[in-house]
């Protein structure tokens, strides 16, 4: 009997999202929006976070489609403003952010590079777990898996608060959803 090896799979929605960017004639705009970071997690861009879904033109107006992370995420308003500013700086003063709910955002859309950036920034990344299932959480400072939950909700709805029992570091864990 062979042991099952865990192969990280890219969800179909995420595959399509990457394809949309690769096939898009608006490369300049995608690159401009790489500069827009999540205001709560300035380590990663809205593209890397998996919420930037599509960019299209409607006449001279740029339509930017974004999937919100959490229903009540207060960062969405700030992100929409940052998108408009970044596009204006690229020469497109007329733009609109369209919210798309379905398919619902998942932490499995966060790129592996961004997961690593989160860890370096001090946030334990969500990993591959989904839907509130327990995942192995490791201290982003020392790597120890001997950690305890302090609160199911940390500084924002998307994170839980942990403390490392090895090095005593308190840290946020980006919850898998």
């Amino acid at each position: 009997m062979t042991t099952a090896t865990h192969i990280p799979l890219i969800p179909a929605e995420e595959q399509e999202r990457r394809q949309r960017r690769a096939d898009s004639p608006l490369q300049e705009l995608w690159q401009a929006l790489d500069a827009v970071k999540d205001p709560e997690i300035p380590a990663i861009s809205i593209w890397e976070l998996g919420i930037l879904q599509d960019i299209s033109m409607q006449g001279s107006k740029v339509l930017v489609t974004i999937t919100p992370t959490y229903s009540g995420c207060p960062a969405m308003g700030a992100i929409a403003e940052d998108v408009a500013v970044a596009l204006a700086a690229t020469g497109y003063p007329d733009s609109e952010v369209v919210l798309r709910l379905s398919p619902a955002w998942s932490t499995s859309w966060i790129t592996p590079e961004a997961q690593e950036q989160l860890r370096e920034y001090g946030i334990a990344p969500p990993g591959c777990g989904v839907g509130g299932e327990p995942v192995v959480v490791a201290c982003p400072r020392c790597g120890s898996e001997d950690v305890r939950t302090i609160s199911e909700f940390g500084s924002t709805a998307c994170k839980a608060l942990y403390q490392c029992a090895s090095c005593a570091e308190p840290f946020d864990h980006f919850k898998p959803i």
Partner: protein, 255 residues
């Protein structure tokens, strides 16, 4: 059902789901800076945000379906108590921490089962909102259930407060499973959730939690309902006076 009738019915249904979410979200937000400790204060307000976000999505959809020009704010800020159609359980004042967590647990256990069903609604927008909500409700439930266990199976004081909270709340729970004409009509066309069908699963889940938390299942000696008809408890108007004050005093004010 004609298209116009159907549109009106879906709008009314979206408004009541928005009302449920807004009212419980507001009650949770009242814990802001009053939580028993900092992390818990943050958790309560984060859960509040999820519910308020959910309310915004349901209200925005209702505004789209409305024949009158209106926005999500019209529903939240310009209606009076009798026009709100939220469940009574959601509007009860916060009480002590045990009361708030007991209520939250009952709400979360229901909300998760409800939203799981709504994800297969024939209305794609309602299904999309539910798909988002379901993921959040799993976390809400995990946390509120933990608190019921911790307080129920905790000290004598925490146990008696949790038991009292459940006794005081229990009569508000039959309302969660009542179907009225609107919901029946929409359930028949695959849009609304048949809440009556959720009751057995909910009962099994809460009884198992109570047993683990060493809590008694309260006696079903009384029950009240009326939220869906706009008949509310006395506290509802007081809550709205806080929630709606700014828009009432300065109509149309924007941040």
């Amino acid at each position: 059902m004609s298209d116009a009738n159907n549109k009106q019915a879906v709008k009314d249904y979206a408004v009541r789901l928005g009302d449920d979410a807004l009212v419980i979200g507001h009650r949770l937000s009242e814990w802001c800076r009053n939580g028993p400790f900092l992390e818990e204060d943050l958790a309560l307000t984060n859960v509040a945000l999820d519910f308020i976000g959910r309310a915004r999505m349901f209200y925005s959809y209702a505004a789209e379906l409305s024949d009158e020009p209106c926005t999500e704010d019209t529903f939240a800020y310009t209606r009076d108590s009798r026009e709100f159609t939220n469940l009574l359980l959601h509007e009860l004042p916060q009480g002590d921490f045990a009361f708030s967590m007991a209520r939250q647990y009952l709400v979360d256990e229901y909300s998760l089962a409800f939203m799981e069903q709504l994800t297969s609604s024939a209305d794609s927008e309602l299904a999309a909102i539910a798909a988002k909500a379901v993921k959040e409700s799993r976390y809400h439930l995990r946390r509120s259930r933990d608190w019921v266990l911790r307080l129920g199976d905790g000290t004598q004081e925490s146990h008696s407060r949790m038991q009292k909270a459940l006794d005081d709340l229990w009569g508000y729970t039959p309302e969660l499973f009542e179907m009225d004409e609107l919901e029946q009509k929409l359930a028949d066309s695959g849009i609304a959730v048949d809440v009556a069908a959720l009751q057995d699963g909910w009962n099994t889940a809460v009884r198992s939690t109570f047993a683990e938390a060493t809590l008694e299942v309260p006696e079903s000696s009384w029950s009240v309902s009326g939220g869906r008809k706009g008949m509310h408890t006395e506290s509802h108007g007081h809550m709205l006076s806080d929630l709606q004050f700014v828009q009432r005093a300065y109509p149309g004010l924007q941040w």
